[in-house]
């Protein structure tokens, strides 16, 4: 008001006053906005616009708080931007058919070669009655980077011109659509309302965080990402007001409203001079939908130790109700500053009484509180505060950013890899670059990465490998049917108390920002999954996130996994395979995302890991859950002087030198950057690698079928998927998009180690002989190689357990476990030791566990087959003969034959003992297998006819046996 310049109302030279021919000269480009409300801005603005003429030299832009979008003086640059944009819309075609839909039903479905994408879209605007044109910013960048640059740097300044360009194009291609009711146009010009068109840009190259918004970003076009925490109701916002002067009755139209209610500041009637008495004409004023959304920084963007920042986002017209609380969204638009009038009017001293304008923030502006900016003055000026907000032209829910990746933060392939690289500082970039270069140069960075994982933990290379791969993850895929295939790698560490299990878990939690550490024992009411909670104040039911949900897109580290609630165990199935959590409680039915990798640590059943039992018998976990872990690792606490010393040295060194002691080659930060970069790769199998994969899977399956792999769980398609995931993660570790055969081999080895880890450590060699040794060995802990054979005892049971693929099988293993301990108990073994075979035989009866298993299934199947044919068992001698016949080609001399004969005898004995076979003395038909087999051992009868039958508990129908031969 101080510098009122153009007192007369009708603006003569408002630049964007585009088509005077159009009946209501006011299109979006606010013709009449002019100076009425803003006189004092003008001279300044004019000066500013002039200085802005050098395009792009100024970054900042005056975001006016009121209808100042339109510079009152001709903005030549603006004009040329409008022209360029119009040209772009009219001419842009896509060479390649890259059809896409930016989330709007109104978008052009497809753009075939040479089709004018945006003209098509304008036609569809009409068809679907929408007013927002969605423009891929990449297209502008592609076609006209000067235009793109102008829009990006001075978006707020050029916004009216862009919209005007759109109106021009609409006028050209869909002229009827310009007006809301074109038929009435000719007769009633007052009712002739024009439509407001909007331009929504999406796919900006870079998405900023809330924290990055600084004053220099004001007015530029940018994308920000955040989680919606609150949404206001949708309200009408006055866009252009029509007023009647209460003094002279004159009509003033098209008063643009920006962020606050603005009346004309002076009646255009030269004789009137009214500045204050105005009446809003609702019917001729134009409104739009308006919504304020509060967003909060994404967890990944918050520096450690800081709290999340929040920001208001203003959504208008068709964008309202696009974002819901809890959604992670990307908003495109501009950062603006509005004076916070509510801060005013604090009179000095303590008698504070705040006067404020109730209609801040552009809200329902219809409530008439006098005077816009003029009001400020009357309050007496204090230090004025300014509020920031984000004016969005586009909302995109990142969770359904189309295509294969369901991870918001990983965009497709190289593109986001590039974006990530761009966000690094120079030294960070150099470091990453050199790491990638080394990798490319063939240096084995993979191994060195592994060594830098969890440096506080001594040893346990394999576990570290697994954790590295878990951090890298496999590729998330989506089938054409829309089914998501998880890429997350789940790992379980089983081991003795006070080994380093928890340290691994804690390491991962400190490594990943979105990792949640929880204990299976101490899960709260929300538990691992989610709970429906009644809000104390409102009484509403809401969903409370559990650990799995909190770790969405991260890793959920669950300690004491074995102590988890049964209900949680069941719920975790879904989370592990489907990556969702379903809730149906208190009238709430919801499926929530829980796309998380699980790193679990479990204690063995008996407190300490019993190497004489299988993994399954050691861990109290249902088979279905077990099968959902890609990798199992067993960590044992072994008294071994050398290891002990190394551990001691490691611990002492940690205290002596702290970081320097563990000094990994790559710091946590370096690793984090490398992993983040590596995760941008989406590796695919090469044909050769696919062949290897098929072959290895076949081998695993066969091992499994022949029994060698029947250790923890059966090899199924799940393990094939695991192998693919692991291969993908290994390829990522190598920063390549191609999975080559070596990667598959590495994955295969890991998987094998994981499946058979226990057995390899525990049994492997020393088959029969061990029986003699074991009673002596059992009390003291034996070095790893000195394993045991008895773990086989339980294997068949596990195998059976895995048959029950539902969660209800949980009690079954327990029952069976109670059976199992009977057989491997020491007395039984001792009695076995009395048998002729053991100690004296100096040619040691050693076969590998694999051989044993192969043999076992051979025999079992043979007998089963005979049983089926004859209904009888197999005679002992027949069995031995059959075996020797089979082995004949391999035998070289008689000692071999003797050896084989003895082997098969022991084999049979062991199978009987292990409840694979039933030993039936005498005639098969009339002897009932009711006798406890083990008590039968004293009879080593040559004369007694001995038959063998398959023990009823052995499942010969299962694929594990049938597919063998």
């Amino acid at each position: 008001m101080a510098t009122s310049s153009s007192p007369s109302g009708i603006p003569p030279s408002s630049a964007p006053n585009f088509t005077p021919s159009s009946p209501s000269a006011g299109r979006a480009p606010r013709t009449a906005t002019n100076a009425l409300s803003l006189e004092d801005d003008e001279p300044n603005a004019a000066a500013q616009e002039q200085e802005e003429d050098g395009l792009g030299t100024r970054k900042r832009r005056r975001p006016r708080t009121q209808g100042a979008d339109v510079p009152p003086v001709k903005d030549a640059v603006g004009e040329s931007v409008a022209e360029a944009f119009e040209k772009f819309l009219k001419t842009f075609t896509r060479g390649v058919a890259l059809a896409h839909t930016p989330g709007s039903e109104g978008d052009a479905a497809g753009a075939l070669d040479g089709e004018r994408v945006y003209i098509d879209q304008i036609h569809t605007l009409r068809d679907f009655e929408i007013t927002t044109l969605y423009v891929d910013f990449g297209d502008i960048l592609h076609q006209d980077d000067v235009l793109a640059d102008a829009i990006q740097k001075q978006y707020y300044r050029f916004l009216p011109y862009l919209r005007r360009a759109l109106v021009n194009v609409v006028a050209e291609f869909e002229p009827d659509y310009l007006k809301i009711n074109p038929s009435a146009a000719t007769t009633d010009s007052v009712n002739l309302q024009s439509r407001d068109f909007h331009v929504a840009f999406y796919k900006l190259p870079l998405t900023s965080g809330i924290r990055d918004l600084r004053t220099e970003k004001i007015g530029t076009l940018l994308s920000i990402s955040g989680t919606v925490t609150r949404t206001s109701e949708v309200r009408p916002e006055l866009l252009f007001g029509s007023f009647i002067c209460e003094i002279c009755g004159g009509f003033v139209d098209e008063i643009e409203q920006q962020f606050k209610y603005t009346e004309p500041s002076l009646c255009p009637n030269p004789t009137c001079g009214n500045r204050t008495a105005w009446k809003l004409q609702i019917d001729t004023s134009r409104f739009t939908d308006w919504q304020k959304v509060r967003i909060q920084e994404n967890p990944s963007e918050i520096p450690t130790g800081s709290m999340p920042r929040s920001l208001d986002v203003i959504l208008r017209s068709e964008l309202v109700e696009r974002a819901k609380a809890g959604d992670k969204c990307v908003f495109t638009g501009t950062f603006i500053v509005v004076p916070d009038v509510s801060q005013l009017g604090l009179p000095g001293g303590n008698a504070a009484k705040l006067q404020r304008e109730s209609n801040r923030g552009g809200g329902a502006a219809t409530g008439g509180i006098g005077g816009g900016v003029t009001g400020l003055k009357s309050l007496g000026v204090r230090d004025l505060q300014y509020k920031t907000a984000f004016l969005a032209c586009m909302v995109l829910d990142t969770d359904d950013r189309r295509g294969t990746n369901i991870r918001g933060e990983e965009d497709t392939g190289d593109e986001s890899g590039q974006a990530y690289v761009d966000s690094l500082t120079q030294p960070e970039y150099d470091e990453l670059n050199s790491m990638v270069d080394q990798q490319r140069a063939g240096e084995n960075i993979y191994q060195r990465l592994v060594e830098s994982i969890a440096p506080t933990v001594y040893g346990h290379e394999v576990v570290k490998k697994g954790i590295l791969l878990q951090l890298l993850g496999g590729v998330h895929k989506q089938t054409p049917e829309g089914m998501h295939l998880r890429g997350d790698i789940n790992i379980c560490i089983v081991g003795d108390p006070s080994t380093s299990k928890s340290q691994f878990l804690k390491y991962v939690c400190s490594f990943l920002p979105r990792a949640v550490y929880t204990s299976g024992k101490a899960s709260s009411a929300a538990g691992l999954t989610a709970a429906v909670v009644k809000d104390e104040e409102t009484g509403d039911f809401t969903i409370e996130a559990g650990a799995l949900m909190l770790a969405d897109n991260g890793i959920c580290a669950i300690d004491e996994f074995d102590k988890m609630d049964i209900s949680d165990q069941v719920a975790i199935h879904e989370a592990m395979e489907q990556q969702t959590i379903s809730i149906a409680k208190a009238g709430i039915h919801a499926t929530l995302n829980a796309r998380t990798s699980i790193l679990a640590a479990a204690n063995p059943v008996g407190g300490r890991y019993d190497k004489k039992k299988t993994l399954k018998a050691n861990v109290q976990m249902s088979a279905p859950i077990m099968s959902r872990f890609d990798l199992f690792f067993v960590v044992l606490d072994q008294c071994d002087e050398k290891t002990d010393f190394n551990i001691a040295q490691h611990i002492v060194n940690v205290h002596r030198y702290q970081n320097a002691a563990i000094n990994p080659e790559f710091s946590t930060e370096t690793l984090q950057r490398y992993i983040r970069y590596a995760r941008t790769f989406n590796p695919k199998l090469t044909p050769e690698a696919a062949d290897v994969l098929v072959e290895k899977y076949r081998i695993l399956r066969q091992d499994d079928a022949t029994g060698a792999g029947r250790n923890s769980y059966r090899i199924t398609v799940r393990q094939l998927e695991s192998m693919i995931r692991l291969s993908e993660a290994i390829a990522r570790a190598n920063c390549t998009s191609l999975i080559t055969p070596p990667f598959v081999l590495e994955a295969y080895n890991l998987l094998r180690q994981s499946i058979i880890h226990v057995e390899q450590d525990d049994i492997d060699f020393d088959e029969e002989e061990l029986r003699g040794d074991r009673p002596a060995d059992a009390p003291t802990r034996t070095p790893a190689a000195n394993g045991t054979d008895t773990n086989m005892e339980d294997e068949d049971q596990e195998m059976d357990d895995t048959m029950d693929q539902d969660g209800s099988s949980l009690p079954v293993p327990q029952q069976r476990q109670s059976v199992a301990p009977g057989s491997p108990s020491d007395p039984a073994n001792a009695s076995m030791g009395d048998d002729p075979a053991p100690p004296p035989v100096k040619r040691r009866m050693i076969i590998t566990h694999d051989q044993y298993i192969t043999l076992q299934s051979l025999i079992v199947l043979h007998i089963a087959e005979r049983e089926r044919e004859t209904g009888l068992g197999v005679d002992r001698d027949d069995l031995i003969d059959w075996y020797l016949d089979m082995k004949e080609p391999e035998m070289q001399d008689t000692s071999d034959a003797d050896y084989q004969k003895e082997l098969i005898s022991k084999m049979i004995r062991k199978l009987v003992k292990d409840n694979y076979l039933l030993e039936v003395k005498g005639d098969v038909q009339d002897s009932l297998p009711s006798v406890d087999e083990e008590s039968q051992q004293p009879v080593e009868g040559e004369n007694v006819k001995v038959h063998y039958m398959v023990h009823p508990s052995v499942d010969t129908e299962g694929t594990s046996f049938t597919s063998t031969l």
């Binding site: 450690t304 999340p308 109730s358 300014y386």
Partner: protein
């Protein structure tokens, strides 16, 4: 010259205006540097009136200092007009009197808004005579972790390089201009009351002991060893029924701090089990009182079903206002948790969460803050001491469990604590505080060898594998050895200390078996 500057500085508004040089980008840093220099000496700094000692109602735009804990850093930054249209300087609550509203948006700068509270759990002796006086009504009780009288002020920081370094629970002295303003976040609610607002000129970080201490400490009178014995005796006699072993464990624990997070060298947590129940209505154990004379920051958290189920241990953001939790405590705090008040009944959901939060703090020194749709973990550095009547803590796993054996007839609650002479007390504080600030402890090659071989030998000689010392035990002993060294104000772990650790550990384990 300097003295005149010093005198002038008490009218900060004028100083700012006269310093102003139109370079709005570097001006906040310049202001901070200027005032920081003027008050560089301790004497000058002490002349700044403390917020605690003045009547805040009468102090618009006065220069004050405030020893505070940063409670909430979540408010959005504000924009202020750094250059008023008449060319005068803006910020620090300065009024634009140019009378024009035509502002140049390029003159807007960002200032940070925080909420700071007086330091929770601060022992009365720390502030000397400037103990908080209840002159001003407490406006935001939900923003203070403990239900006590406190000050809370809105803080505005203009030097943004400074503000980024201020994190939740940081203890700092803020020096600035005191005004009364409406709360930035609440300015749109019609009944917002004005709050004390401090426009910060400069800040001083406070040490973990609030009052600076020296390590190693060289006492004037007696040797450290003797002093340490005196201290342990006093703690034992006044707080622990004469149990010196327990007193030594308490001493070792209270001097613990986070030495490093990677690798994790965190303070130990201690349970004093079989801690007798109070026979009198008094529920605050004498131990808390004893410790509050020694420690600058001590909070007693009496657990009961009521506190568990109805209070919040974790800070929680509600409507973008961070409500404090019982565990939002500054670095270096000691938290005494008494389980004596727990009765039979149900622990509900919130109680379970609270227990988890506390356990998490004990084991990982982290605390989760709850925000809408997410939780964020913040680092803590708080020593936890659990007093339990049972054989072990009802709720928590602590790294050490010491069964207390008080002499018969000793009252551990409510009796008057006999203070030593002020000189002794001052030396005790120096000893404890110094040990707490001590960081690096050397372990020589030979001692390292000794420890390693000791470990191997001990494992070898274990009768059964399950009874063997584990690597966790070794880690624990190393921690204790480090604390023991610090408590003796030595800088090197020696074999004697190692053997002493083993003696202590063995005695502790014997008691547990008994």
């Amino acid at each position: 010259m300097v003295s005149s500057e010093l005198a002038d500085a008490f009218d900060p508004t004028r100083v700012i205006l006269s310093l102003y040089d139109q370079d709005i980008d570097s001006f906040p840093a310049k202001v901070a540097a200027h005032f920081d220099k003027i008050f560089a000496s301790k004497d000058a700094f002490d002349e700044i009136p403390s917020l605690h000692t003045i009547d805040p109602r009468q102090t618009d735009r006065r220069l004050v200092s405030f020893r505070a804990m940063i409670q909430d850093t979540s408010p959005s930054p504000e924009m202020y007009l750094a250059r008023h249209s008449n060319g005068k300087c803006g910020g620090w609550g300065l009024v634009d009197d140019s009378g024009t509203e035509d502002i140049d948006y390029s003159d807007l700068r960002e200032n940070t808004v925080l909420w700071a509270v007086s330091v929770p759990g601060e022992s009365p002796w720390v502030g000397g005579d400037d103990a908080p006086r209840p002159l001003f009504p407490v406006s935001h009780p939900h923003k203070f972790p403990v239900p006590e009288h406190h000050f809370g002020v809105q803080v505005k920081l203009y030097d943004t390089s400074q503000s980024d370094s201020l994190k939740s629970t940081d203890a700092v002295t803020l020096v600035g201009i005191l005004t009364l303003e409406s709360l930035a976040e609440e300015s749109d609610s019609p009944n917002a009351l004005p709050v004390l607002t401090l426009h910060v000129l400069f800040t001083r970080e406070l040490p973990i002991t609030i009052i600076p201490r020296v390590f190693p400490y060289v006492p004037a009178v007696s040797s450290v060893r003797v002093l340490r014995e005196e201290l342990i005796s006093w703690m034992a006699d006044e707080g622990l029924g004469g149990d010196k072993d327990a007193a030594e464990w308490v001493l070792l624990n209270i001097i613990g701090t986070v030495q490093s997070r990677t690798p994790p060298l965190l303070p130990l947590s201690l349970t004093l089990s079989r801690f007798p129940a109070s026979k009198t209505p008094a529920t605050t154990p004498n131990l808390s009182i004893v410790l509050s004379h020694l420690l600058p920051l001590l909070v007693t958290l009496p657990l009961s079903l009521e506190t568990l189920n109805n209070s919040s241990f974790s800070p929680e953001s509600k409507d973008e206002d961070l409500h404090s939790g019982r565990l939002q405590l500054p670095r270096g705090s000691v938290c005494v948790i008494t389980e004596g008040g727990v009765t039979e009944g149900d622990v509900f959901d919130r109680g379970v969460r609270n227990l988890r939060a506390l356990q998490e703090m004990m084991t990982n020194q982290t605390l989760e803050y709850i925000f809408p749709f997410s939780r964020f973990t913040f680092p803590t550095d708080v020593v936890c001491l659990v007093l339990s009547e049972g054989k072990k803590s009802t709720f928590f796993q602590t790294s050490t469990n010491v069964r207390i054996q008080p002499k018969d007839g000793c009252e551990l609650y409510g009796s008057a604590v006999k203070l030593p002479s002020p000189e002794s007390l001052a030396m005790f504080r120096d000893l404890v505080g110094g040990a707490k600030t001590g960081k690096v402890t050397q372990i020589s090659e030979s001692v390292a060898e000794y420890i390693q071989e000791d470990f191997v030998a001990e494992r070898k000689s274990a009768p059964t594998p399950a009874e063997a010392v584990t690597s966790d035990d070794l880690i624990h002993r190393m921690m204790v050895a480090r604390l023991l060294t610090l408590s003796m104000h030595q800088s090197e772990v020696t074999t004697e200390i190692w053997e002493r650790v083993k003696v202590l550990e063995r005695a502790r384990c014997e008691r547990l078996k008994a």
